[in-house]
Subunit: 223 residues, 2 copies
């Protein structure tokens, strides 16, 4: 029995929900913009933590999207950037997620969420996707004024959950989230969603599987 | 009078030198691959520092390039990735750099380099570009086993240079490098090279200018 801590964006929720609006805004360059935006968003949030500044993840997402469009020479109004980023509140769960959470709960685990999204955004996202009722807790990085993979975030989550690091499993479609949690003594499960790979230079995850249901099987009773 | 600490890749040296080889490898997607690769390289190096792992920057660059090609579904052999990243040793200086360094030295400043590149790579890069003879010191992050913008790197550089933070100016085409140094009490000069922007969520730089020569004028005697 363990506490399974699930990342939200890309791990539980499918960013493909942004494809329509991005295609409307950027036509044939939509996929390129989306990829570059998200890579730069992750870099920027990590840098902000390293240099000791803070803003809500949604504000960072909007700022970086505007800037990414600028750098590519693509026009984008502030309001339009806000609409596109607002689409993150209306994502669907990946099709394996409901069964995956059920399997984890069935095996006796407690399942919670831990996200870089702000608390209100995270709650709206998971309610829209119908996952809020399946999760024991929804935790945001907000109280730490830092972003994952900073150690302070995992320490805060462990504290909130009243769990020892060895009883916690970070489940994410991002290698950096798994590695960050493992640095704090957690175990980790990597969900290798399409397009997600695990950097061989980082500590490998404890478990890995292509989706959450398969990962639940791999984790078993978590021993 | 101050010690002017210049970043190397993109700040002194022009990554446009990679355009030919990238176009050979990726045809019409070369620019997209290069942008995404560099954004993911910066994210990955920052993450590695946050989670406490280390590898030479060139190894990280090669690994992330292979992985970026994979994610985009573009074929790339290991050897080819090595050749492309090896091209970073043969970049030219931006056309304003020699005059910019001369102007800074003429104003009485000491001018040095501080880079995420490994020591041997940095020396080869700056020798190839003819800048080694103009620089007082070439410092790499190597001894710290961390990457910029981690505070330990700037502390190490200050120590090596025997300078107080207030007498140091980080000069970079990257907002995260300026902000990282400022967090450590340094001042900073942002070189707004084409395609480089300064994230408004980060502490603004002390000075900013479109190239190194203009920045030297802006800095003046550094008071």
């Amino acid at each position: 029995m363990a506490t399974i801590v699930c990342d939200v964006n890309e791990t539980l929720l499918d960013l493909a929900g942004l494809d329509g609006p991005f295609t409307e805004a950027f036509c044939e360059r939509a996929e390129e913009v989306k990829r570059l935006w998200f890579a730069r968003l992750l870099h920027t949030s990590t840098v902000m933590t390293t240099v000791g500044t803070w803003q809500d993840f949604g504000v960072v997402a909007r700022t970086v999207l505007r800037d990414t469009a600028d750098r590519l020479g693509l026009p984008l109004e502030d309001a339009q950037a806000g609409d596109l980023v607002g689409g993150m509140r209306r994502l669907r769960a990946h099709p394996d997620v409901v069964d995956g959470i059920a399997a984890l709960v069935g095996a006796g685990h407690r399942v919670v969420a831990l996200t870089n999204s702000g608390q209100a955004t995270a709650e709206a996202q998971l309610a829209h996707a119908g996952l809020d009722v399946l999760l024991d807790r929804i935790l945001s990085v907000d109280p730490t004024l830092r972003f994952k993979p900073d150690p302070a975030v995992y320490a805060h989550a462990a504290d909130e959950l009243g769990a020892k690091p060895g009883d916690l499993v970070m489940v994410a479609a991002h290698d950096w989230d798994c590695a960050g949690a493992m640095r704090c003594g957690w175990r980790s499960g990597f969900v290798s969603r399409p397009g997600q790979t695990y950097n061989p230079l980082l500590q490998p995850p404890t478990w890995r599987a292509p989706d959450l249901l398969a990962l639940a099987t791999a984790i078993g009773d978590g021993r």
